[in-house]
């Protein structure tokens, strides 16, 4: 990437910001006790992921990540937080049990992180042969309407059923039986 002097450092800095945003958002989403802070952590994590998608040469996905995750999913969760009382009640377990279960969960997630990261980094991945396509928005659109047309229609059906189901379930109980 050629540009003005120090361009590589600037791009690397932006990449580091994206990685740190993702990691900090994930930690914030998992560790805070207030649910609203957890939602903010999820939104932060999604912004970082959008940056990572941009570096992975998928700018369309990066826009979709912000639109769907931050714009739709986080806002929906915020609505649910407003409708239900969401602050976690004080833990009923004893202090010793809390420390024990926390340590167990930490051990499990640490083992998962170590194992998956080691598998991904150490594995001898095979580089593809042949000419690679560019993955532009045009290619995605053509593939969505030809090769993956059936799956696309099924997904739209799933979304329709999800909307109707959400309406029916949330309405149930509003009227007295």
């Amino acid at each position: 990437m050629k540009g003005f002097p120090g361009m590589e450092y600037a791009v690397g800095f932006v990449f580091g910001v994206a990685v740190l945003t993702t990691v900090a958002g994930a930690l914030l989403a998992a560790l805070t006790t207030r649910v609203i802070r957890s939602v903010c952590g999820l939104a932060l994590c999604c912004f970082g992921l959008a940056g990572l998608y941009y570096f992975l040469r998928a700018p369309f996905l990066s826009l979709m990540e912000i639109l769907i995750y931050v714009g739709a999913i986080c806002v929906t969760i915020v609505f649910a937080v407003m409708l239900a009382e969401t602050d976690e009640a004080p833990a009923r377990e004893t202090r010793l049990a809390a420390i024990g279960w926390g340590a167990l969960a930490l051990f499990i997630s640490g083992a998962v992180f170590w194992g998956v990261a080691r598998l991904g980094i150490k594995h001898a991945w095979v580089l593809p042969e042949g000419k690679a396509t560019t993955g532009s928005v045009k290619e995605i659109g053509v593939a969505l309407l030809t090769t993956y047309g059936f799956a696309f229609e099924i997904i739209s059906l799933v979304l329709l059923v999800a909307i109707l189901g959400a309406l029916v379930i949330a309405r149930y109980g509003r009227t007295k039986p």
């Binding site: 609505f79 990261a117 593939a143």
Partner: protein, 106 residues
């Protein structure tokens, strides 16, 4: 500060980290919405893995992106259903703590 963003290692490590925090949150959160957020983190980790593999190890670069679009659509459907269930549960029990909702009624 700079990282090598043209290699898959750091993306895979970040995806593994997000997966691990999602699992930790799923185990430790005590409310249904908190567990749902942890589930979304796991979805995001899977999406990041898809895009990384798509960028570095696949010739047809559209496939992974389409998979991630489908994952996003399924996540949106899942969250709408799950939140409506959470609200229905809150109306019945006046609580969304995962330990309070422990009896079934047919």
């Amino acid at each position: 500060m700079s990282f090598d963003y043209e290699r898959p290692d750091i993306y895979l490590a970040v995806a593994a980290f997000v997966l691990a925090t999602g699992i930790y949150g799923l185990v430790r959160r005590r409310t249904l919405i908190g567990m749902l957020i942890a589930g979304e983190l796991i979805f995001s980790a899977a999406s990041l893995n898809f895009v990384t593999m798509n960028r570095f190890f696949v010739t047809d670069k559209a496939v992974g992106q389409i998979c991630v679009l489908f994952i996003m659509a399924l996540a949106a459907a899942e969250i709408s259903i799950a939140l409506s269930i959470v609200i229905a549960v809150y109306r019945n029990y006046r609580s969304i703590g995962s330990k309070d909702v422990s009896e079934m009624n047919g």
